[in-house]
């Protein structure tokens, strides 16, 4: 036979093999494809995020440094720029702009939908040379809009409520402004509620306006409170500018506190860059598990398929065919699976890419998106798929070629060269007859094969449990947070004032006297920085009566301070600061230093209790702490409940008209914001879980069909003895259930470990403000059981047709 003829014979033979096994080859290929496709897409997320964020921040000339005056402080326009112009290193500052950022309440009610949320107006020069706006809908602001009641609405908020491209908004004090378009801005690529690192577009509206418009609307004419600047890249440029500007501002504004925030500290940047790393670690774990499960399963299934060719290899050996030639057919089978894996992996990869790209677009909406298919990562995954396929072929092939032809040919009679671990049950009488004992024996008979099937399924179960466990943990955490916030009354709202007022101020009296208000409880809320053992964290400190009628903190440890000054902080805050009950905590906070001016001062207070809220930045101090802080008798937040017959929306609408009120929101608004963010995150998790379950089904189906093929003679013997197909299938189902249950136990244990890592390590750094409570619901265990037990247990049912078509006489008479 000539070489081309021989080649054609092998190809024909391989194609016939494939035709016989096309379903198996396709489903193993699909398994590999899912693993490789998901691996390449999930591994690409951080590269996409970084590339897209780089391009977006550069396109909008985002600031490198932001100077913000203490909350409630303002200064005359030009003073901040003047302070900058007096520093020695002013030459490295390429652009600087003053801004006015003021809180406000925004009524964006549209159609029949009532949308009243807190927000802020950002007044900036038009056009802005720092932190430019990316118009997304409607028209951009033009210099002609300077001073007019025209704004651009932040796109994430508008998109959340599906607002039209342009419309009217009512602001605190009753002012109506026209939003002419919707825009993205670098600081709000991800909208974060003040003090919290969470997406908050549902509950926070940002309006971009000309500086003069912002001054006009807020009543702060000629005033500013922020300076943003861009600094030429250089190793020490930014830190030197910051320290020189710090000195210059202290001299220029001696009675006013201010803070510096570098570009990399901005929450939106941090979430896009720093957290991309943590998120990617988590993604990598799941991508690795998906690929690992696919690889393990493919290895197991291919090697079993090649194992089935051992007798034919033996015949070839007996006929004197060289091992190199004999290796071709099994290798072609491995090659077919590998090619099928790659062929299906490319569309699977593109589909997974498209899905994750759309997830990223909704999670991190950026004006410039760079999400190319990461060919390198795909090739990496595909290479592993090919390597697994070939390795799974080569190992049993080497085993088959290592024996003498006689042994290889007689392999059928002595199909079980050993009983594996079945000896473990040798002396044990299991309940039921020999047929009932067979499933366990079969599981133990081929321990390596069982272990690989178990590991493949366990990896899928681990993914399912850990991902669904993340959702459960979020839900539990948010429920705890909501329960704590709404403990006094489910209808409680918080009303924030623009500046602290004396307890007997007219505004407070007006609020208390309003018909829509049923009851009220005043407090003072301060942005504060806690410090201990050299560690710091930002928080909101609520100063008020600890035994108020509408609400008071719920404790998980310690006690509520009553007579002496004391602090109640979050468990996560105590852990991060390394403090316990009874220890003193450093507090830096703004103290009124004059009209519209605050300075930052420091003091210490003892920690007397730990509250139940999982939000790290929530902290409380009692009224006796007020004198110690120099804040006696001041109020800037009022808890209220609507009067009977009034709704929360009525209260919001009523209080919106008061110029001193900047925000009216549900007491659990912060939790709702987190919930909103998590619901998008949940979607990603659910789809990943679904893919994992599809993989479990594929693994289970393949294992069941290969099992059925391998056990044809045993099945035929049972049929010859009158055992009906139902009995044989029941045994197979029981065997599969044993494997599935073992895999589920292993997977649940591994999944719990992964969940702990995600919550305790990964999310602790990516979501430091949320003390997530680890929780796994019954539904999640059910999902794990679905992936591991039910799918595997039911897979043998797919073999009923094949079993019922068994040619019993032929199967029984296979002469080996």
């Amino acid at each position: 036979m000539s070489r081309p003829q021989r080649f054609r014979l092998w190809v024909r033979w391989a194609l016939r093999d494939m035709r016989r096994r096309w379903l198996q080859v396709t489903s193993i290929g699909l398994l590999l494809a899912l693993g490789v496709g998901m691996y390449s897409a999930m591994s690409s997320m951080s590269q996409w995020r970084t590339a897209s964020a780089d391009a977006s921040f550069a396109a909008l000339r985002s600031h490198d440094l932001r100077v913000s005056l203490a909350a409630g402080s303002y200064t005359n326009a030009g003073r901040l720029r003047a302070a900058l112009s007096s520093i020695p290193d002013r030459g490295v500052v390429t652009a600087a702009e003053e801004r006015l950022v003021v809180p406000t309440q925004v009524d964006a009610s549209f159609g029949r939908r009532s949308i009243i949320v807190p927000g802020r107006i950002v007044g900036m020069p038009l056009p802005a040379s720092v932190d430019a706006l990316a118009p997304m809908r409607g028209r951009p602001l033009r210099p002609a809009d300077n001073g007019r009641l025209a704004v651009e609405l932040e796109r994430n908020f508008a998109k959340h409520y599906a607002l039209p491209a342009a419309g009217d908004l009512r602001l605190t004090g009753g002012t109506t402004v026209r939003y002419v378009g919707q825009a993205l801005a670098p600081e709000y690529f991800i909208v974060t509620a003040p003090g919290a690192d969470f997406g908050a577009e549902a509950n926070f509206a940002v309006l971009f306006a000309s500086l003069r418009t912002a001054q006009r609307v807020s009543g702060e004419r000629g005033r500013v409170n922020e300076l943003v600047l861009r600094v030429r890249p250089g190793p020490r440029n930014l830190s030197e500018v910051q320290s020189e500007l710090d000195r210059s501002l202290r001299a220029a504004l001696p009675r006013t506190g201010f803070t510096f925030t570098t570009g990399s500290q901005e929450p939106a940047r941090r979430l896009l860059y720093k957290d991309a790393e943590g998120d990617q670690q988590m993604m990598d774990i799941f991508a690795g598990l998906l690929l690992g499960a696919a690889a393990l399963a493919a290895f197991n299934l291919i090697s079993r398929t090649v194992e089935a060719q051992r007798r034919e290899i033996g015949i070839g050996m007996a006929l004197g065919i060289s091992p190199r030639v004999l290796a071709r057919r099994p290798l072609l089978l491995g090659g077919q699976v590998a090619i099928m894996g790659i062929a299906l992996g490319i569309p699977a990869g593109f589909a997974a890419n498209a899905w994750l790209r759309s997830v990223m677009q909704s999670f991190f909406p950026l004006p410039v998106l760079k999400t190319p298919m990461q060919i390198g990562v795909f090739v990496q995954g595909a290479a592993l798929g090919v390597a697994v396929s070939l390795l799974a072929t080569v190992i049993p092939l080497r085993r088959a070629l290592a024996v003498t032809p006689v042994e290889a040919i007689s392999v059928g009679v002595r199909a079980a060269k050993s009983s594996g671990l079945a000896w473990m049950t040798r002396g044990i009488r299991l309940p039921g007859g020999s047929l009932a004992n067979m499933p366990l024996r079969n599981v133990l008979r081929t321990p390596r094969r069982t272990a690989m099937t178990v590991l493949g399924i366990a990896a899928v179960v681990a993914i399912t449990l850990s991902l669904a466990g993340v959702i459960d943990s979020f839900n539990t955490t948010l429920s705890a947070s909501r329960a704590e916030a709404l403990a006094g009354s489910k209808r409680r709202l918080t009303v924030d004032l623009a500046i602290p007022q004396p307890a007997d101020a007219a505004t407070l009296k007006a609020i208390a006297a309003d018909r829509a208000i049923g009851a009220e409880q005043p407090s003072l809320r301060l942005p504060a920085t806690f410090s201990a053992h050299g560690r710091r964290l930002d928080a909101f400190l609520d100063l008020g009566a600890q035994n108020g009628p509408l609400w008071h903190p719920m404790l998980r440890a310690g006690r509520l301070p009553v007579a002496r000054p004391g602090l109640v902080i979050a468990q996560r805050a105590a852990e991060d600061l390394g403090v316990g009950i009874g220890e003193r905590l450093g507090i830096r906070y703004p103290l009124p230093a004059g009209p519209r001016s605050y300075r930052l001062v420091s003091t210490t207070l003892p920690v007397t209790g730990i509250h139940t809220s999982p939000l790290r930045f929530v902290a409380y101090a009692n009224l006796p702490a007020a004198p110690a802080l120099g804040l006696t008798g001041l109020v800037n937040r009022i808890s209220v409940v609507p009067a009977p017959g009034y709704t929360e929306a009525d209260v919001k609408r009523t209080l919106l008209a008061m110029s001193t009120v900047t925000a009216v929101q549900g007491a659990a608004a912060m939790t709702d914001a987190v919930d909103q963010t998590m619901s998008q995150f949940t979607e990603v998790l659910i789809i990943t879980v679904m893919i994992a379950i599809v993989m479990a089904l594929l693994i289970a189906y393949n294992a069941a069909t290969i099992n059925a093929e391998e056990r044809t003679r045993e099945t035929a013997t049972m049929f010859a003895y009158g055992i009906r197909p139902r009995g044989v299938v029941s045994g197979n189902v029981l065997e599969a259930l044993l494997i599935g249950t073992t895999a589920t136990i292993v997977g649940v244990a591994a999944g719990y470990g992964i969940l702990r890592w995600i919550i305790d390590v990964s999310m602790r750094s990516t979501m430091p403000d949320l003390g997530i409570l680890i929780s796994i619901s019954a539904g999640t265990y059910g999902l794990a059981a679905l992936a591991g037990i039910i799918s595997v247990g039911l897979a043998p049912l797919f073999t009923i047709r094949r079993l019922s078509r068994t040619d019993v006489p032929s199967a029984l008479r296979v002469v080996e």
Binding site: A416, A422, N437, R445, A720, Y721, P809
Partner: protein
Amino acid sequence: MAVLRPHPAAQPAAASPSGALVELSGVGRRYMVGSSEVVALADVSLRVAAEDLVVVLGPSGSGKTTLLNIIGALDSPSDGQVVVAGRDISHASRKELFAFRRHGVSFVFQTFNLFPALTALENVEFGADAAGRHAVRDVAREMLDRVGLSARAAHFPHELSGGEQQRVSIARALASGNPILLADEPTGELDFGTGIQILELLHAQAHTGRAVLVVTHNREIARVADRVIELSSGRVVRDGPPVGGQVEIADLRW
């Protein structure tokens, strides 16, 4: 070696009105192979009574295994009538055929077909279990004892020699207590000495109330049968005592 007798719990052999355990009348079996028809059996009529040791002899392709499969309800005839243990299985439903195999016949295979995950004792238990017998462990122990393998009860098939595996296979068939034992080339995989042991077991069974049909192509084995049915091209070409008269198993040589 102990003489094998039917287990007391074994079902009484239900003979046909003619007194035969197996009765075939005009049985034919045709297959379609591609577009051509293959006649495996044609117009086969025979009767086998209890206590008969019948050897079905013939070259490859003569139809002897097809005959065994039809008697064992693994296959159905294209023509004719098959009455086994008093039941007409010619046109039985699939469900009835399964039930018949549980309670009517037992098989011994050339390649043993033991379950590799079960010990020798458990393999024998399987036979009793499948037939719905009670006290299966006791039955299995007794059967293993009868085939001289009590000491190997806890061993797995791969730990047994070929002859031992075939003895376990016979014990499994006997444990069912069914009246008809069908053996398809039971010595085909065995050496001479072991083959003789197996024949002794089968021979002893035939004389304890069962009908034993052995399919083989080995003419020497046919010499120990009570009766030899020779097949050629699917037809019975001879049915009678062994040519040259019945001999003792000890006198066999091949």
